[in-house]
Amino acid sequence: MISTLSFVHSGAVKRGLQASGAIPSRFTVGDAAVQPTVGEPFSDQARMSCRQVNVYYGAKQSIIDVSLDIGRNEVVAMIGPSGCGKSTFIRCLNRMNDTIPGCRVDGTITLDGVDIYGKEIDVVPLRAQVGMVFQKPNPFPKSIYQNVAYGPKIHGLAQSRAELDEIVETSLRRAGLWDEVKDRLDQPGTSLSGGQQQRLCIARTIAVSPEVILMDEPCSALDPIATSVIEDLIGELKSQYSIAIVTHSMQQAARVSQRTAYLHLGKLLEVGQTERIFTRPRHPLTEAYITGRFG
């Protein structure tokens, strides 16, 4: 299994660990034009910490000065109108934006105190530690078994076939899919229903034993029943993982998350306890959004 800090190459300077002390624990507003985030963006038990993150696509800036923590065993929901940068932001957390030509990220993002954009960081183990589930279920053109085994094989997590079998079974069980597929593990992943495919993708992500799971609108392509199955699953997963979930549905954010962050035109306007955000929003734009005045 990957140890917590395994994405730092051995022998490399763990400068992130020292850097973590330097991370401001409170918003220090240098630029008067940048409004500070309203609410509680930080957590005492942070797994991932983002400080003053800016993301540019070419010359266009899509994320402006966002600082946010994702705590241990916590589900953070990201809400906001389309195009406000929710996907862009969570794709920074496992460096998926590296695959987009012209995309540039600055600021600090740490996982357990280590700067994930540090020079000595290898994205391969990083992405195993920060897994991602996408909007559209995207099983590989392989069998159900091979879909789950793909990640462990790449990372060499299993020494033997028996070990691999066990990882596959555990992952499918945690994703709540085992009972439905245990008799047809050799059938193509694409033969499953949409909801099952999405749970397969979750199992695939769990299989490489991540610490943080990012979910980008994981239910937007699913029917209400499949959605509620996934929401229950998220509730169970948070006992082991930290989760950041982007969602379009405020009901979903209310049901699954402990904290909710409201993004608007690339800025993080408000973060807080989910219940508080939905009952007593402090920022006028948050209120406008959750009361449905725009979206």
């Binding site: 496992n94 030509p101 990083l126 996408f134 590989f140 053109p141 990640g151 993708c201 695939r204």
Partner: protein, 462 residues
């Protein structure tokens, strides 16, 4: 009336009809309470009028094209003096040709036979009458069509729907021309092949090991009895296609992977069109490249290694053919790789896979059916390719799998069988049709399989 004046006339007439229809539509609209009262737009009424002007004229003209020569000939022949009209059909045709030549003014014989001269005069007279008749008929048709529609224009006339129907019929006719031509070609090849198999048994053709289609021209000639065992020819085709695909499949596929996954947009913008230029080079150019550059290289390279290579070899033809097919394979593979959804790449990268792992384990499996389809289409090109093999593979029907020897292919044999003066009913000529049929069936099957695979693959991601 020549064809061009005819079309010009039709064009002018239908333009006039269009204007008439437009005017008429406006006129009937006014009392009914404006243009919005009409069922269709005025342009539809006008188009309908123009179509009904042009279509009858076109119909008359095509009928005339088909019937006129037959009728004229029958009349001329019927009027010939008895000693001429009693000639056999073949001779009669020659005489009729003489008459036509006489009319055209390029009669090369001595002073013309008076009977022929009379017939020529008759022919010329008939032609004049038929021209006049045509003009009258075309005009009548066009006018009648125009008048009928013109009078039918009312606010309730569903001109838009009728125009739609007429266009659908026209489109249908055009597509059926393509289908009928194909069917006709297939049938003619089929019937000629059947005639071939009446003189040479299918068993000998498909399983015989000796191919030597030269027939004795004189009965006393030796050594030219003709043998139609096509196995060496098939084997040559398979050998050369195999060499070609050995070159084209890996190179094309890897080039496609590089272009679609690794190359930057600027390199792609240059490399793709270059590849397509490669696909646009006429095969005869590849042919002399193979014959004049590659074959001598192979020969001298072979002799350096102590191998006996003939000056025309399967290897030379196959290599160059492979190069010709590369852009074909790579462009199809590139398309299918690009069609693999980005979400699959994201999923794989999101699990920490590297680019080459993603390509090998996710993209290629996802694109495999499309790639296989592309390769099969490449094979069918290789089988049907003619020019390169004619120039570089030789003519000798050797039964060999040695790529350094000259071999021959189905296409080369078809060419050699039909080049030069031929009797059209000798087995030698007919053998070409049998070979053509085999070629056609083989490529047809490959194409059907390939298209089926490609289509299945498309469904998977839609």
């Amino acid at each position: 009336m020549t064809t061009s004046t005819f079309f010009l006339a039709i064009l002018v007439l239908s333009a006039a009809a269009y204007t008439l229809g437009l005017k008429r539509a406006m006129a009937v609209a006014k009392p009914a309470g404006g243009l919005s009262r009409l069922h269709s737009r005025p342009a539809h009424y006008a188009t309908l009028t123009a179509l009904w002007c042009a279509l009858p004229a076109l119909a008359v003209f095509s009928l005339w094209l088909a019937l006129e020569p037959v009728v004229v000939k029958a009349l001329v022949v019927a009027d010939l003096p008895e000693e001429l009209s009693r000639l056999s059909t073949g001779r009669l045709n020659l005489v009729y040709n003489d008459i036509k030549n006489l009319v055209a003014g390029n009669f090369l014989g001595t002073a013309a036979d008076p009977a022929l001269a009379a017939a020529a005069a008759h022919y010329r007279q008939l032609k004049t009458i038929s021209q006049a008749a045509l003009a009258v008929l075309v005009l009548t048709g066009a006018l009648a069509g125009t008048v009928v529609v013109h009078r039918k224009i009312k606010p309730t006339l569903r001109a838009r729907n009728q125009v739609e129907t007429i266009f659908r019929v026209i489109l249908f006719l055009c597509s059926s021309i393509a289908v009928f031509t194909t069917v006709a070609i297939v049938l003619s090849v089929l019937f000629e092949a059947i005639r071939f198999f009446q003189s040479v048994s299918p068993g000998e053709f498909f399983f015989g090991l000796k191919w030597s289609p030269q027939l004795a021209i004189r009965a006393d000639q030796v050594g030219s009895s003709g043998a139609f065992g096509a196995i060496p020819v098939f084997l040559g085709t398979v050998l050369i296609s195999a060499i070609a695909m050995t070159v084209a499949a890996p190179t094309g596929l890897l080039a496609a992977i590089y272009l679609s996954e690794y190359a930057g947009p600027r390199l792609r913008a240059v490399a793709k069109p270059l590849m397509e230029i490669l696909a646009g080079i006429p095969t005869v150019v590849y042919g002399f490249f193979a014959a004049l550059t590659v074959a001598p290289l192979i020969r001298s390279g072979g002799s350096l290694l102590g191998l006996e290579a003939s000056s025309e070899s399967a290897l030379a033809a196959g290599l160059v053919m492979g190069i010709m097919i590369i852009p074909f394979v790579s462009s199809l593979s590139d398309d299918v790789l690009n069609a693999v959804p980005q979400s699959l790449r994201d999923g794989s990268y999101g699990l920490g896979a590297t680019q080459s792992e993603t390509i090998r384990q996710v993209l290629i499996p996802a694109a495999l059916p499309g790639i296989v389809g592309g390769l099969l289409l490449g094979v069918s090109r290789a089988i049907g390719e003619t020019m390169i093999v004619v120039m570089a593979a030789g003519l000798a029907a050797n039964l060999t799998v040695n790529p350094l020897q000259a071999v021959t292919t189905v296409t080369v044999q078809i060419v050699t069988l039909l080049v030069g003066d031929q009797e059209f009913d000798s087995p030698k000529t007919l053998a070409a049709f049998a070979l053509g049929l085999v070629l056609f069936v083989a490529t047809l099957i490959l194409n059907i399989i390939a298209l089926y695979i490609v289509r299945k693959y498309r469904e998977q991601y839609e």
